[in-house]
Amino acid sequence: MNMAVEHVDSGAAAPPHPLVEFWQYFRQNRGAVLGLAVVMTITLVAVLAGVIAPHAPHEQYRDALLMPPVWLDGGSWRFVLGTDDIGRDILSRIIFGAQVSLSIGFLVVTLALVVGVALGLVAGFSRGALDIVIMRSMDVMLALPSLLLAIVIVAILGPSLMNAALAVVVVQLPHFVRLTRAAVITERAKDYVVASRVSGAGLHRLMFFTVLPNCVAPVIVQGTLGFSTAVLDLAALGFLGLGAQPPTPEWGTMLSNALQFIQRAWWVVTFPGLAILIVVLAFNLMGDGLRDALDPKLKR
């Protein structure tokens, strides 16, 4: 219904749509664009894993144990990145591993973000005993080294991919809570929130419609950066045997299973490690670009 008005408006000096403006700022950071491209490629690969992977991830080829990658002597185009100790194709396992890492990473970030933002919002608005209880328990969680805390949680729940994901959610939670609370407290003091109260807005409306939309920028950035931390932590837990259990094609688990062959067949550990590195780097680059593009202080 706004179409007619918008149409008249879009003439002379109409400022660009927020999304267009965002893209203009984001584009200036070449690293961020590269990161975005890599993330999109890997996502596409993960979604299409069943189609593009040359072999099934669990298929064991007894005739090709520890076969080197194609460009080395003894390599063949049948297994481009070589095979592992029981003859599984490493490329296929990495492609299916992207599925595991990305979906679990997404799950972890979504859960931590939703719960963390909710807690931060409540803490920022209550400013009393409830605030103290929430923030001090977050401080306790931050005081412990994150991987150690995750190990403790998995030790209690038992090793599995889902429990590892849950542990990583708990580890990431305090960052989201603190970030949201800080943003809420800054925004809450502004005149537009007071104006909303004067026109009769209740607590629910103030929290979700007035204040929250103005706090999303730092949370989005933290979400992107948290994604890379989640992938890394999950790989670490997998490596320690506390995350995904074999034969799941998870990158960290692949690393730990192949550790004993590092002298004889370097490709077995190198390629899963590179996959972790590339994904984490791409998300970090993208997160940095997002921060620059979404930070109003850096604009104009």
């Binding site: 408006d9 502004k190 007071v194 004067v198 026109s199 409306r205 103005n214 109003p296």
Partner: protein, 315 residues
């Protein structure tokens, strides 16, 4: 129409973790009436309690003591709709994530059962009333200049058809030329809608132009209040005299001998005994250090000074 009786607002503070509790008397017993179609200006230095007064009247904060009431309306829920506010900072007072249309419609969404189309008509009607164009409805606040933003803020304050508008230094953040436009807009709207304004300002030339009555505050208390003409012509309190002579004028004939004040206003955490103004007063006597003066009627206005008559004669 709107009566405030001895409004007080105290804030408890501690200067150190284990220090004793102290009380800041941000507002200490201020009374006034507002009338439809008239403007009461509240003037004073920073920290004198002007903005606290605005926050109490708009029910952002509850008063520590005292009461206010709208004649014929005792219900605070419906009273909230009758009192709206315009802030000083037109940048911070509009939600940057919302379009002008939804900023203006928010009070209607909360307080009325209007349909979407009705709300839209109301908002567009109000936009034209404050001198903006209907196509501004679907723009974001950052696309406007300071003066235009203040017009949007005025429009939002009027969406619920309030009887009283509190204007907390509405023009002091704007350019001089834009100030005049906003003041003219406020006065035109007052005539059209019969509004009562509580106009908070430290700019006496603005106050002289727009208001009917004046309330001069010093450290949370009223020192002089009454009709603008009476006070601007013959101020009775030494503080008012100092304030008025501090306004610069272009015409040499209007320049008065400046009454210079010594020192700074004392901290509200540490209000002097007796008359709060005695340390800076040019005509201070022994009585001022001991006794706090109450408001009393002198020559057609209310003034809180033991020696108001002497001050009037000396002026």
């Amino acid at each position: 129409m709107f009566t405030c009786h001895r409004l007080c607002r105290y804030y408890p503070v501690r200067d150190t973790l284990f220090g004793a509790h102290k009380t800041i008397k941000a507002l200490d017993g201020v009374s006034f009436d507002l009338h439809a179609g008239r403007t009461l200006a509240v003037v004073g230095e920073s920290g004198c309690g002007k903005s606290t007064l605005a926050r109490l009247v708009t029910m952002i904060e509850p008063p520590t003591a005292g009461r206010f009431s709208l004649v014929g309306d005792g219900n605070s829920k419906s009273m909230r709709k009758q009192v709206q506010i315009v802030f000083q900072d037109a940048y911070g007072s509009l939600n940057p994530r919302k379009k002008v249309g939804s900023i203006l419609e928010e009070p209607l969404v909360i307080n009325t059962r209007m349909q979407r189309a009705e709300r839209r008509d109301e908002a567009i009607g109000m936009l034209t009333k404050v001198g903006l164009r209907p196509e501004h409805y679907s723009r974001y606040p950052h696309m406007f200049s300071g003066g235009q933003r203040q017009r949007i803020a005025v429009a939002r304050a009027l969406m619920l058809r309030p009887k009283i508008v509190v204007a907390d230094e509405p023009v002091s953040a704007l350019d001089i030329s834009i100030q005049a436009q906003i003041l003219n807009l406020l006065m035109a709207l007052q005539d059209e809608l019969n509004l009562a304004y509580l106009f908070i300002s430290h700019d006496l030339s603005v106050v002289e132009r727009i208001c009917d009555e004046v309330l001069v505050m010093y450290l949370g208390r009223a020192v002089e209040q009454g009709e603008k003409r009476t006070i601007f012509q013959k101020p009775a309190h030494p503080y008012t005299q100092a304030l008025l002579t501090s306004t610069p004028f272009v015409e040499p004939g209007r320049r008065a001998q400046r009454v210079l004040l010594k020192g700074e206003p004392p901290s509200p955490m540490n209000v002097p005994s007796g008359c709060a103004f005695h340390q800076r007063c040019p005509i201070v006597k022994e009585q001022c250090r001991r006794e706090q003066p109450e408001l009393r009627e002198v020559a057609g206005r209310w003034v809180a000074c033991h020696f108001a008559e002497a001050a009037l004669r000396g002026n």
